[in-house]
Amino acid sequence: MPLPRPRKQAGDPNVAALLTWFLPGGGHFYLGRMRTGLVGFVVVWGLYWLGLELSDGMGFEFLNKELRGPFAPALAPELGNLSGLLWQSRTYGFGLGFPRVFPESVHLGVMCTACSGILNIFLMIKAHADARHLEEPVLGQLPLSLACFFAWVVPGGGHYLQGRRKRGLIVFILLTGIFVLGTWLSEGSNLDRQRHFYYWGGQLMGGMPVIGLEQFFGQPVVSHEIKYAEAGLALASLAGLLNILAILDVYGWGERSALRAMSGDPLPASSSTIPEVKA
């Protein structure tokens, strides 16, 4: 198959990514990819809307009163979907000023809003890559955004799909193992956003193992002192945060690989030099 020649950028990649941050799908509308933009908007904003419905918009009421402030929610995963975060802050904020009973589906709801924020980050990656033509099927590469998405869904999954199986397996064993160890030490008390609002956000970067375990063992009733609760919580959260580094590794390798394919360079993607591709 003939290698594609480097093409002019479809638009400014940074503008495309920023527009997607402001409005899911916005970057693709800017690039003229209406269908992708529309699908992105419906999926990401639909998930946020579903989360707001399930939680009655009470997600930020999990925050203790002393932590509430204009920028307090900005450290939550919802930040990935800026328009959603702003909408929730403006419409629901921190509630009515007095304690209310949370709906039964509140935990599922906040999971949806948080996942919407994370999904939009991968849509931003896609917009940025699409502007640079890095996800063209003719390159024969696993699309960058998809590889990064799988790296989030299962730690090490992105490496595995890129053909770096040994590395993927090590990442999976390390990160999932540490998350499970942390959850065991804290007896599942880490799996509760209401209890640990910010740590929970870090932990969620661990993907499906975190989401799955929370669905089965989340929000346990704690009736005794858990000796290593804080150590377990820190470990589980660190495992999620370290997965961000793994996702960045997947992104870097995929980007180099795509750029090499575009320039027709036969060097393996493991070489650390990134070739210049002129527009």
């Binding site: 770096r164 040994k166 590395r167 090590i170 990442v171 390390l174 990160l175 540490i178 160890l181 290593y228 150590a231 470990l235 660190l238 495992a239 370290l242 580094l245 793994a246 960045l248 590794d249 870097g252 390798w253 180099r256 993607a269 493991s270 070489s271 650390s272």
Partner: protein, 66 residues
């Protein structure tokens, strides 16, 4: 098992994860990454030990409650 041993064990586990992810990010080539791992882990643990030593010293001197 003593608390100190448990915490040292946990520190070792998370140190291995932090340093491994660090070398994976820095070195796309697996062989190069594994070659650098032991030295980086040593430096990381030495750095942690230095911080512990300084904090302990401060705890017994300027920040002593006694």
């Amino acid at each position: 098992m003593s608390d100190l041993l448990v915490h040292l064990g946990l520190l070792l586990v998370i140190s291995v994860a932090i340093v491994t992810l660090g070398v994976f990010f820095s070195y796309p080539d697996d062989e190069e990454a594994f070659k650098r791992l032991p030295r980086r882990l040593g430096v990381f643990l030495l750095g942690c030990a230095t911080v512990v030593a300084i904090m302990t010293l401060i705890g017994y001197t300027t920040a002593s409650l006694g």
